[in-house]
Every structure is written in structure tokens, then in C-alpha cells.
Symmetry: C2
Subunit: 334 residues, 2 copies
Amino acid sequence: MTDAATVQEGPFERLSSLVAGDMAQVNRLIRERMASENAPRIPEISAHLIEAGGKRLRPILTLAASRLCGYAGEHHIRLAATVEFIHTATLLHDDVVDGSAKRRGRATANILWDNKSSVLVGDYLFARAFLLMVETGSLRVLDILSEASAVIAEGEVLQLTTAHDLTTDEARYLKVIRGKTAALFAAATEVGGVIAGAPEAQVSALATYGDALGIAFQVADDLLDYGGTSARLGKNPGDDFREGKVTMPVILAYQRGDDDARAFWRRTIVEGKQEEGDLERALVLFGDTDALTDTHARARAQADRAVAALDAFPDSEVRDALADIATFVVDRTV
Amino acid sequence: MTDAATVQEGPFERLSSLVAGDMAQVNRLIRERMASENAPRIPEISAHLIEAGGKRLRPILTLAASRLCGYAGEHHIRLAATVEFIHTATLLHDDVVDGSAKRRGRATANILWDNKSSVLVGDYLFARAFLLMVETGSLRVLDILSEASAVIAEGEVLQLTTAHDLTTDEARYLKVIRGKTAALFAAATEVGGVIAGAPEAQVSALATYGDALGIAFQVADDLLDYGGTSARLGKNPGDDFREGKVTMPVILAYQRGDDDARAFWRRTIVEGKQEEGDLERALVLFGDTDALTDTHARARAQADRAVAALDAFPDSEVRDALADIATFVVDRTV
């Protein structure tokens, strides 16, 4: 992962530097709005997560999308902060739901404080996000991000019921990852176009870009959990396998497997009875069924869809950087 | 409590019957919007709570407020459903935060399903609430209810940090109960006026009514936990005492107590070291310091403030019922 991480800086950092001035304003606004006169624990917990050095990918996407549409106002700053608040709120709640102890290399808020605080501070950030949107005066933006918030929660609930369930097919998996990742990516880019008053064709292209990028990102992530197409296990490989998560590689390997293979998947994923050597056997079965290479192909197709959507915009540094990010998230899995 | 409960039906039921036609539409809309094609667990959990026979007081307040302002449109139905969704979402999260096993006489969702589902379904209902508001096309409504949601979360976080803390004064207690109860009451009545396009004086009167009613309601509730002014302990008395909650009676008794009394409160509330007879001793100390009667007086003053706010409206059955509710919530504590 370290090599990949080094390479990874490239396109993200390039886009990030293109919107660095705006991002400084976003960071100021975030600090200002996560404050709470009455409950100092709120900014403490928010800051723990927000200032933990995340990539700020989602707000950067909003800033980049509005730049792409030639926006000259100030509301994109509020929307980028909104998107980061919603993302942070979902992370706080996710860590409670998953009982996670670490995030971005640090202890999670639910461990450092408690589950109660994580739930309530998440709720506070959601409410603050909506207040920021109200300030933009755009009902359409509120509609898009409310809908995305519903899809996120729905996807998480769906995920609770898909773990250990081998009847999960590609369509259901896609719904889960739309909720987990793509819905907020798509909303983040779409509202950048909406606030800029861009033509509908461009707004819709931005939504498509975000959706496709989000799906590519999450499929690639699920693939990396098995070491990527080379199936070389790095550190912490097979977390999803151990937790019985039914991600794309498992779906393909199960559907294409023979009776023996299916029995293996039922034992390890459905019944959760795993023994030494099982992860290695899973990798062999992935190889037999082309599960990893075909998962990679699906991520690649989504990246291509993201890049194609950018045709709605004239050539520019921002457009190039957005295209490179889509390609990059998939390349890192090889 | 049974006698009180029987009497209690009076003004609530009267108001409820005045808006019964609208309420039937609200119930239909609630059922329609809590659905989720992708995650059937969402409506299951929502229905468990929403259809458990709560009084629907908050949506009734919204309907009554819009009626009071002569509203003839349809958006009050959406706003009443919004208010019930936000309320239900906060109950789901509260039960996780408090680790509650029972609500309205039934097992809580966090017990019947799990904490994860309660957190996520709460998030889903929040998002759905915002989508309903967007449909009304009123940014002001979105502003009011987003702000209320922030105050609710803030109040709950504040409450986490006030338990066992005898430095809590009346001002901080007021902030907690505004978050816990009054903020949503005030928003529920205010948006009824806003959607009706009522004059500002009436909109502001409705917000005052809801705020005062909510505070009276919660102070009375906290008083009832010690049996009301008569200090006759009914069933489950002293829950707040055992949990070390610093409510109005304790604040007054501690502030007015002598050294011995203060030592008692520190041992029982701060250190949580309670033994048999302590609850009875607390009641004696309440009597010595007029803590219960003065708590009652404060609730009464809020009820008076609520009734006075209704002067902004001409006489009507709805106005009378709203006034009676304010008086009633305090009377039940005698």
C-alpha cells in the first residue's frame, strides 16, 4: 500500500492544488460552523475526525465541479463544507455501526469518547450541513443532498442485511456501494454545477461523473482488499473476507464456481467458519473464475464512463485532473 | 399516573379531533414516505415506533398552528409528517444513546433489532424529513427545522455532560430541555404559521407558544419523576435521581441546601453512591427548600407564557384547545 499511496498523491494533489485557495476558505468555514457555544464536546469530536488529515476528496470535487462551470460566486464554499459535514456525519455513524476502533490510523471517536457522542455529534453535523445549504438559497441543492443522504442511509441498512448473504447479486451490490460511496460523490459534483447555473447537460454530466467515479472507487477498494488483480496480499488483506462481506469478487467467484467452490463460499461467508489457508484458497478460486480481473474490468468501465462524461466540458486543467483521478483509482488495483 | 392519564386525554383529544381529517392524511403520507424499496428493514423499524400509539402531539401542533392562521393549502400535511419523522429519528437515536430497552410500553428498536439499525433508520428518516420540506418549496421552513435539529443534537450532547454535574444551573438546564423538547415544539408550531403566510407577529407568537409549551411540558415531566408537588411517589419514581440527572428540583434543592444537604447531593448525584432511604431523604430536602413547589411555579409561568402568546389570534376552538393543553401539562403535576 505504501507504493500505491505515494503514486496516489499525483492526480489528487494536482486537483487539490488547483482549488487550494477555495479550500482554505472551506476549512475556515468548517471550523467556524462546527463550533458549539453550548456543547464544547461537539467541536472536539468533529475536529478529531475532520482534521485527521483526510484527503477532503468530496469537497474538492464540489469546488472543481463549480470551477469547471465557470462559477464566480461564493456558495460553492458553503456547499463544499456541507458535503464534508455530511461525509463526516456518516463516518461517525458508520464507526458506531461497525464498532470500528481505528480510522485514518487514529482511534475513532466512539473509542476516544463513546458511541453516544458519535451518534449525537453526527446528528449535529447533519443539521449544520442543512443550515449551510439553506444559506445558498437553492432548493434544488437541498433536494439533491437530502436525496443523497437518504440513499446513503438506505445503502448502509442494505449492507447490514447483505453481509453473509450469497444471494447478493451485482445489482444489490451496486445499490450498497452507491449508498456507501457513489451517492455522495455524485451529489458533490452535481451541486457544483447547479450552484453555477450550468446548462442541464453539464449538470447531468457532473452527476454521471461523480456516480461513476464513486462506483469505480468503491469497486477498486473492494478489489484491493484481496490485493488487487495480482492477488498479492499486502497488510491487512482479506478483512472483507473475514467479515463475510459479499463484494464483487465473491459474487463473481460464487456465481461461476462449481459445487465444491460454492460449498467453500457457503462455509466461509455464510456460516463464517474460517480456518487457516481459507483466504489463500479464496484467491485460488478467484483466479479460476477470473473474479479479480473481471472485477477490475468493471471498475475500469466505470472509470471510462466518468472520463466520457467530462466531454461535456471544454479542455482545462481541472477537467484533466478529474479525468486522471478516475483513471488512477482503478490503476492502483493492478 | 392512571388518574392523571385519564384526565390527560381531555385537551389533547379535543385538539386531536379538531384536526382529525388532516391527521389521517398525515398518517397516509408517513406510511408512504417511510417506505424503502431497497431496504425493507427501514419501514419495519419505522412502523414499530411510529405506529406504537404515540400521541402524535408534535404533528398535531403543526396542523393546529396552520389552522389557527387560516391556511387552506396542502403543505401543512407534509410539514406535520416532517415533524413526526424528525421526532421519530431523535427517539431512535436517543434510545441508542440511553441504552433504553422500553419506549411506550414496548421493546425499543435497538433491542428488537440492534443499535446499528436504529442509528441508520434514524438517519434515513432525517433525510426523508428534509425531502418533504423541500417539496413545500419554503426555504424558511427548512431553516427553522434545520436549526431546531441542530439545537436538539446540541442539547442531547449537553445533557451527556450535565448528568452527575451539580454545577449545572437553571440556565444550562433550560438549554438541555430546549434541545430535548422545546426546540421541536417551537419549530412545529412556527412552521405551521410560516406555511400559512401568517403575519410575522403571529408566526412569532406561535414560536413562543411552542417554546413555552415545550419547556412547561419538560419541567412538569421532570417534576413528575419525583411524584409532582405532592411528592407522592407513583410507579417508577426517582428514575432521574438514580441516574444522577440534574433536573430543576435538584438544582434548587442543592443551591438552597445547607452543608449537610449539599454533601448528600454530592454523594448521591455526583458520586452516584446511593443507599436505601436516599430517595425519601431527597424528598424531605425538596420539602425543606420548596424545590418542588418552585419547580411547579416555573412550569406554571411557562404555561402562562404559552397561553398569553395565543392572544395574537382571534378566539376559536383550536385556540382554546391549545391554551387548555398548556394549562393541563402543568396541572397534572399537582
